[in-house]
Symmetry: none
Subunit: 424 residues, 2 copies
């Protein structure tokens, strides 16, 4: 099964938009073991679309297009490929009513109708009018037509296209399922070179496909191949990087940490300075988080740290806002006031400005308050403001995860410089 | 002059690397007015490289390849395209000595020699051994072969390839010099269909290229073409969608809102329920936000709304957590306690669970507290949890932006269902 991707849009040809859909599609297709042999991008020009689509149709077993399904003048994909396939356009009643019922195209029936015209025989991939996309089984070839909007493209590719591709011809179902299995490991704070050297030392690694994909700050390791071999290699890797392993089910750190808290009926509060709410938003991005997340403080000003968390004025004055002591008092105060089982705190310099020789940009103190104890770690993260805020927030969550699972091994972070603890 | 880009590399096909070179090349070529008609990516497989290169050679006036020029065995480009052109490989003495003198390949003469073998007639694009890349004038076509390393690709494209392309045929030199400008508008809460219909009605629109790109939830409109025409069309669009226009400098809503607050020396606090810290993290993602953002409350539990913001227990009980009154009291309390000029609040159901017939998922009440007044708007957003949290947070920021710039026009949101206000 060899396939191609066709991206349609002036915005891609002219570099006004970075083609992240191509990256996502490449990842997921190669992870599934489907062979992607060509990625083409063309402008919003019918002749070029038709010519290119005809060529891909001839050369490959499956073709996935992205873009040009919308209601506007420069959305030409459906018409162009219908011509290329010598088919007729037919109105999809399901799609039309879905679009109309969404109400977004009130008073612009023309646009709704344009979007509802599909090549005869096409099946829509979703009944959500915000998820335009269709599928065509044509002379033994599987053809998919997806919108260019990343959220929609990714959802439809992952939840609709891949399953349909994996079912192509009984014999080949195995490509994606039986013979070859796909194992996803999500790691955090993993050193790429350590991992690589370890993998090189493994027996049986030649027989499986190993992909290493930074999700930033998490890392996904993908093992693809013969079931036994994948299990064998996978187990060695799990054993070696146990503490860094977040999930074997492709679940992210916020999901996993939330699950542990939920299962144990434990509650959490946050007190953020340099992460400015990002930590809380990570936690609350998970549905059901209200079961364990009680409240969050974004104490951006010094005054708010004193008023809301009871951080001592002299601590801020004498030890500084970016210090072990401030992180300890923030976490302690948050847990006390919120009456939760745990509290996490962050204080530091996300930059790009504000750094000094003693306290450079990237300096972050992370606190964890647990019954009778408060910990604080001193980190030095690298990267731009967003990266530092993200690294600090994920590291805070991982600190809690490790404490819940292991209690110990708090020190073993790549970017950690020091540790302090208070007992009471 | 029509041309194509050919990217060669498994890392691109499998999505291990995001193709930023394509974006850069697209930008610079379209800015110079050179017509890029196709971008292709293929894996490190000689037959595929040869077949694709031959096709592009036939169809286009210029072809630029990226990747596969290095010393390792999966670097196949030079050999493959030499075969495709039916040429012989010849050692480039200049290149070889440059590479050897760089000392980087000491003791690996084989690698140095491999990199020095170029198709006969090729001219190297730089004598810097770190900038491998060559150029071939072949049967009236301009062929460029660049390394995939972004720094090298960009430097050679900008400083070598573009000048050479612009000199092709005196008559067309002008193409690259002509006054074309690119205008970026960032809009929020803009109805695509309204915009499209308005644009269709504009005079002079035929002469410029108009692109419409959802950034979710912001929208970018791009105008490209003759300076005068772009200004003319741009001004009409600005006039018509004034209130929705966030920026003409490609700046996002958090940046713009922050700038206004900073310029006027005004301060802000947030009180979030359903957005769970996302609103605060948007604000604090901007460097310098500590000048205007004082603190944020993530009052996820009912208890925290009462304790931290002074929301009345009977309000929660009688009006409900998802109500105008709760949003009003949250915003009022946050502003009072933080002693800021403004406060924003959010309360609602991000889903996917928790919705009811009366209060479906997507229901969000957003409050804005200003001196002597508190407003609250009732919204019904669509999409998944992340989309709803993002829409609510951006809308809250835009509510403040509109209040600061216009005071009025608070009602004109696509997803707004109602409005309430308190004065005191």
């Amino acid at each position: 099964m060899r396939g191609a991707l066709l991206f349609i849009g002036d915005e891609l040809i002219s570099g006004r938009i970075l083609n992240t859909n191509a990256e996502f599609a490449g990842k997921i297709l190669s992870a599934t073991g489907l062979k992607l042999t060509e990625i083409v991008t063309v402008p919003d020009e019918e002749p070029q679309i038709i010519k290119t689509f005809k060529r891909l149709l001839e050369e490959y077993d499956f073709v996935i297009t992205s873009g040009g399904l919308g209601p506007t003048e420069d959305d030409l994909t459906t018409e162009a490929i219908t011509k290329a396939l010598n088919l007729e356009l037919k109105e999809s009643k399901t799609l039309l009513s879905a679009i109309l019922s969404s109400g977004e195209y009130k008073g612009t029936l023309g646009m709704a109708k344009k979007m509802s015209m599909l090549p005869e025989g096409a099946e829509i991939l979703s009944e959500d009018s915000k998820m335009l996309g269709f599928y065509l089984h044509y002379q033994g070839k599987k053809l998919f037509f997806l919108p260019g909007v990343p959220e929609q493209f990714r959802f439809l590719l992952k939840d609709r296209v891949i399953p349909l591709l994996c079912e192509v011809r009984g014999g080949e179902r195995g490509i994606c399922k039986e013979e070859r299995i796909l194992k996803n490991f999500i790691f955090f704070d993993l050193n790429e070179t350590d991992l690589n050297q370890f993998i090189l030392s493994l027996k049986g690694k030649e027989e499986i496909k190993i992909g290493y994909y930074p999700l930033i700050p998490e890392v996904r390791l993908v093992l693809l191949g013969d079931k036994e071999k994948v299990e064998e290699v996978g187990n060695q890797i799990k054993e070696r990087f146990k503490v860094n392993l977040i999930s074997e089910e492709d679940e992210s750190l916020p999901v996993i940490t939330g699950k542990i808290l939920m299962e144990r009926r434990l509650t959490l509060a946050t007190a953020e300075s340099c992460t400015g709410g990002y930590l809380a938003s990570l936690i609350t991005s998970i549905s059901g988080s209200s079961a364990y997340f009680e409240r969050g403080f974004v104490t951006y000003s010094a005054q708010s740290k004193i008023e809301l968390l009871g951080v001592k004025e002299e601590t801020l004055r004498e030890k500084g806002i970016y210090s072990f002591e401030t992180a300890l008092e923030m976490a302690y105060g948050a847990r006390l006031i919120a009456k939760t089982d745990f509290a996490l705190s962050t204080t530091g310099i996300a930059g790009p400005t504000g750094g000094t020789a003693e306290i450079p940009v990237g300096t972050v103190f992370i606190g964890l308050s647990v019954p009778h104890r408060v910990f604080a770690l001193h980190f030095r993260f690298e990267g731009d403001r967003q990266t530092i805020q993200r690294m600090a927030s994920y590291t805070a969550l991982d600190l809690l995860r490790r404490y819940l699972l292991y209690g110990e091994s708090l020190f073993s972070y790549r970017f950690a410089l020091g540790f302090k603890e208070r007992t009471f």
